[in-house]
């Protein structure tokens, strides 16, 4: 009896709907239910994205269960370790900094599809800097100045994809032989490290609405300020946070069918839905990223407050693939030990 319950509850990755009640499995005759593996900051309920997914289920009869697998770095490493016997059928949110780790690890059944993009940039709490009468930093070089000592929180590049993107920005800025010194200086200037974007932004950063942090500088996105305007309570007409356009790294996120899925057709159907207009139009105001689908018209609040850097830092994928693990390791040694 207990074993049967266990079998029903745990034996099936993908045969249930709803993210909290995996006990109600149908038999093999039930319409397919598939699982999409997502990162921490992907909403699992109550947002327009979830409504769009519900519409997909209503139209196709394919239920979609969301499983949160940690920040993007953790999610991809785990996917590589479970390649061929995945934790779900579709994965959302592998970005260009981690793509090689995923594809080399045989995570995807076929090449994943771009789903959104954005810029990882240092954000600042405008009110906090105004209170202290100093201008916020604008460039990576500025972050080393003594007036910004102890103010910045970044994400760990081993666990977090914005963290990795920011590390890559510093590599592009200071060079493959110079970034180590940049980070030694940043460490000496009191940089703080969080394991995920979610922790850094909502628990350490002082500029996030409803956040409890005390750090006025954080590594986030060029499109984070619109989020602060949209969710402001009481409503406001200006953004409480600013973006340092000289610190940005371009990030593209991908989604794809995981190798080893038992429902390849349904999974493929979901991926197609993810790049379609219905789902893509919800991205700007829920995940605060740019949709790849050009049919989508960007909301005004998004175009008004998002910062698009003229000249973001970039590193070619082959260089990232060849050096990522070593850079993460060296970073760990310089900053955390």
């Amino acid at each position: 009896m207990a074993a049967a319950v266990l079998l029903a509850a745990c034996g099936n990755d993908d045969a249930s709907n709803g993210s909290t009640t995996p006990g109600t499995t149908g038999g093999t005759t039930a319409p397919a239910a598939i699982t999409m593996v997502v990162y921490d900051s992907f909403p699992t309920a109550d947002t327009p994205l979830n409504e769009a997914l519900a519409e997909f289920t209503a139209d196709t009869g394919i239920a979609v269960r969301l499983v949160t697998a940690g920040d993007a770095g953790t999610m991809v490493t785990k996917a590589a370790l479970t390649a061929g016997n995945p934790e779900g059928d579709v994965m959302w949110g592998v970005d260009n900094t981690l793509l090689s780790a995923a594809t080399d690890g045989g995570v995807f059944q076929s090449a994943p599809t771009p789903v959104d993009f954005g810029d990882v940039c240092e954000n600042n709490d405008i009110a906090s800097f105004a209170d202290h009468g100093i201008a916020p930093p604008a460039t990576l070089a500025d972050l080393l100045l003594p007036q910004y000592a102890g103010l910045l929180v970044v994400e760990n590049p081993a666990t977090s994809s914005p963290g990795l993107a920011f590390l890559l920005a510093t590599v592009a800025y200071a060079g493959e032989d110079g970034w180590q010194q940049y980070w030694r200086d940043l460490r000496d200037n009191g940089v703080e490290v969080a394991d995920s974007w979610d922790v850094a932004y909502y628990e350490r950063f002082s500029g996030a609405a409803g956040g409890e942090g005390d750090k006025p500088l954080v590594v986030s996105y060029g499109s984070s300020p619109p989020a602060e305007v949209v969710f402001a309570d009481p409503p406001r007409t200006d953004a409480p946070t600013g973006v340092a356009a000289g610190t940005c790294f371009r990030q593209t996120e991908y989604a794809g069918v995981l190798r080893g899925t038992k429902h390849p057709a349904e999974a493929q159907q979901l991926v197609q839905f993810l790049v379609g207009e219905r789902f893509q139009r919800e991205l700007p105001l829920t995940l605060f990223v740019y949709p790849v689908n050009t049919d989508v018209q960007l909301p005004d609040v998004f175009t008004e407050f998002a910062v698009v850097p003229d000249d973001p830092f970039e590193i070619v994928p082959a260089t990232i693939a060849a050096n990522r693990e070593q850079w993460q390791d060296q970073w760990n040694e310089i900053v955390l030990r």
Partner: protein
């Protein structure tokens, strides 16, 4: 004694020849598939060309090795020093609450390492988090029981007339300690030091929560390499390196313990405090020990009830809903993890009791050949949990043995860790069964097999309950192997606790402390119930 073994053998020789192989087959298969095979896979990864050089030249590896070694030595020395006084007081004096104090000292040792880690996160100031001292302090708390039990057991039988004679001859208390007591205690001190060193050298749960990224032990680094960097080869090299160190320490310590062995006939019962000085410091040591043992656990529970500097039940109320903000969940459901943990513990307990029970019966029935199984089943005990998990993860990843998504893989790993304890708990009972009981049953007309069933198997039932409690407690708190085998959305309690306490937000942290409190109470309850039931049986068996 030897005579009874001879008679035992004579009686057993009449048991059916298929009995021992039939008993041994399951444990042997389990050991081969879930322990030896993963170990060979690990070794195979290590001997690949370039693998060792690559792993050992990775930045920071030398430092991790050095830190692991020195913190283990420091923890061991400090644990011996701290445990000395309570060991003495508990061994030599009779006072009200002595049994309760003994239990209080033993509790931390039975607790999951993540609970101890969480308790010290709650207790120590923020500035201690991520430091070596935090790791060492938690290690001392965790292991004092080893010193109190091992050194105390020897101290209790130390002949009092020796120390009295030395005092009469004019030796000061310090001289008596140095020239009489310490040399006599040396074997116990060595044994305790070895056990504490092994535990702290392979520390994972507490070290990961308290040492953070700045001060990782070898275990934490192995897990980081495999699960964060995806550097499985590097992790495998470090795992095997750690196994070698453990083997050397065990071998070296066994040699020393043999050489230091002391024989004496024990006459020394605990007595009441006599002199005025004694009446003052014995209660002082006892009270200080009780406070030191209970404070971290009390603080853990109280921290789960505090939010924003005020008392609040919010963390407990929101335990079932993992949302941090509308729509955004933490990815761990604390209450679901509770259910998951109990289910997995039930399976792991059944597995380890079945396998361990069969193995113990086989070992006793097979005499000399049983030694192979005996030693084989003890091997997982000398292997770190992280190594077991990593080995299983990289072994069972290819069809038809791709079991990474199988629900029973985690309980199988837990059973591997728990089975040696089950065997250890049963063997003494089985070995103590007098042959004449079996003979009596046979005289009354039972066939040898029936007599064996009636006597041996029935005898073992009660200690089996105690062993089951132990196995359940081990499974509930298992963290090292589970770290590798866990699947997203199916987290166990220790994994959920570590995830929650990895956050800095007040609510998730308070939830982490609340969940750790639940795990604390659950483990303590399981261990207590099982030991009460087991003791009742044990008394009549002894």
């Amino acid at each position: 004694m030897a005579g009874s073994v001879e008679r035992d053998r004579a009686a057993l020789n009449r048991l059916p020849r298929w009995l021992v192989p039939a008993l041994a087959v399951l444990p042997a298969i389990g050991l081969a598939v879930f322990y030896l095979w993963p170990l060979l896979t690990l070794l195979q990864r290590v001997v690949q060309p370039g693998s060792i050089g690559h792993a050992l030249s990775a930045p920071g590896v030398a430092r991790v090795l050095w830190f692991t070694l020195w913190q283990a030595l420091a923890s061991t020395a400090l644990t011996l020093a701290v445990g000395f006084a309570p060991a003495y007081v508990l061994a030599r004096y009779r006072f009200p609450g002595r049994r309760a104090l003994l239990a209080a000292v033993t509790v931390p040792f039975m607790l999951p390492t993540v609970v101890v880690g969480a308790a010290f996160l709650a207790l120590l100031p923020q500035s201690w988090h991520g430091t070596a001292r935090a790791v060492i302090v938690a290690h001392v708390f965790f292991n004092v029981a080893v010193v109190v039990r091992l050194v105390g057991a020897m101290w209790a039988v130390l002949p009092t007339d020796l120390t009295a004679a030395a005092r009469t001859l004019g030796a000061s208390p310090a001289q008596v300690l140095r020239h009489v007591v310490l040399p006599l205690l040396r074997p116990a001190l060595w044994a305790a030091a070895t056990v504490v060193f092994l535990f702290t050298f392979t520390s994972f749960g507490a070290a990961r929560l308290l040492g953070g990224a700045a001060n990782p032990t070898l275990e934490v680094e192995i897990a980081r390499r495999a699960t964060q960097l995806g550097d499985v080869d590097g992790a495998a090299v470090l795992s095997v390196l750690q196994l070698l160190v453990l083997a050397v320490v065990v071998w070296w310590s066994a040699r020393w313990q043999r050489r230091a062995a002391v024989q004496f006939a024990g006459v020394g019962a605990p007595r009441r405090s006599r002199s005025r000085a004694e009446r003052r410091w014995v209660p002082t040591v006892a009270a200080a020990t009780a406070v030191a043992m209970l404070t971290p656990l009390a603080v853990l529970i109280s921290r789960s009830l505090r939010l924003g500097g005020r008392w609040s039940l919010a963390a407990w109320r929101t335990l079932g809903s993992a949302e941090v903000r509308p729509g955004i969940s933490l990815g761990v459901d604390p209450l679901a993890s509770l259910v998951t943990s109990f289910r997995l513990a039930a399976v792991a307990t059944v597995l380890s009791v079945a396998i361990g029970g069969l193995a113990a019966l086989a070992i006793v029935s097979a005499h000399r050949h049983g030694r192979l199984l005996d030693v084989g089943l003890m091997l997982p005990l000398g292997t770190s949990a992280v190594t077991i998990g990593l080995g299983m993860l990289i072994t069972f990843d290819t069809a038809p043995f791709d079991w990474r998504a199988a629900w029973w893989l985690i309980p199988a790993g837990h059973a591997l860790v728990a089975t040696p304890f089950v065997v250890r708990a049963l063997l003494p009972v089985l070995r103590s069964i007098p042959a004449d009981q079996r003979a009596a049953a046979a005289t009354l007309g039972a066939s040898p097999l029936r007599a064996w069933l009636a006597v041996d198997v029935r005898r073992v039932m009660r200690p089996l309950v105690a062993a089951a409690g132990l196995a359940a407690a081990i499974s509930l708190g298992e963290f090292g192997a589970t770290t590798f085998l866990t699947r997203s959305g199916r987290e166990t309690m220790p994994i959920a606790i570590a995830r929650l306490l990895g956050r800095t937000g007040q609510v998730p942290r308070a939830q982490g402390f609340a969940l750790a409190s639940i795990l604390l109470v659950a483990t303590a309850a399981v261990v207590m119930v099982a030991s009460v039931l087991g003791e009742r049986g044990g008394a009549s068996d002894a």
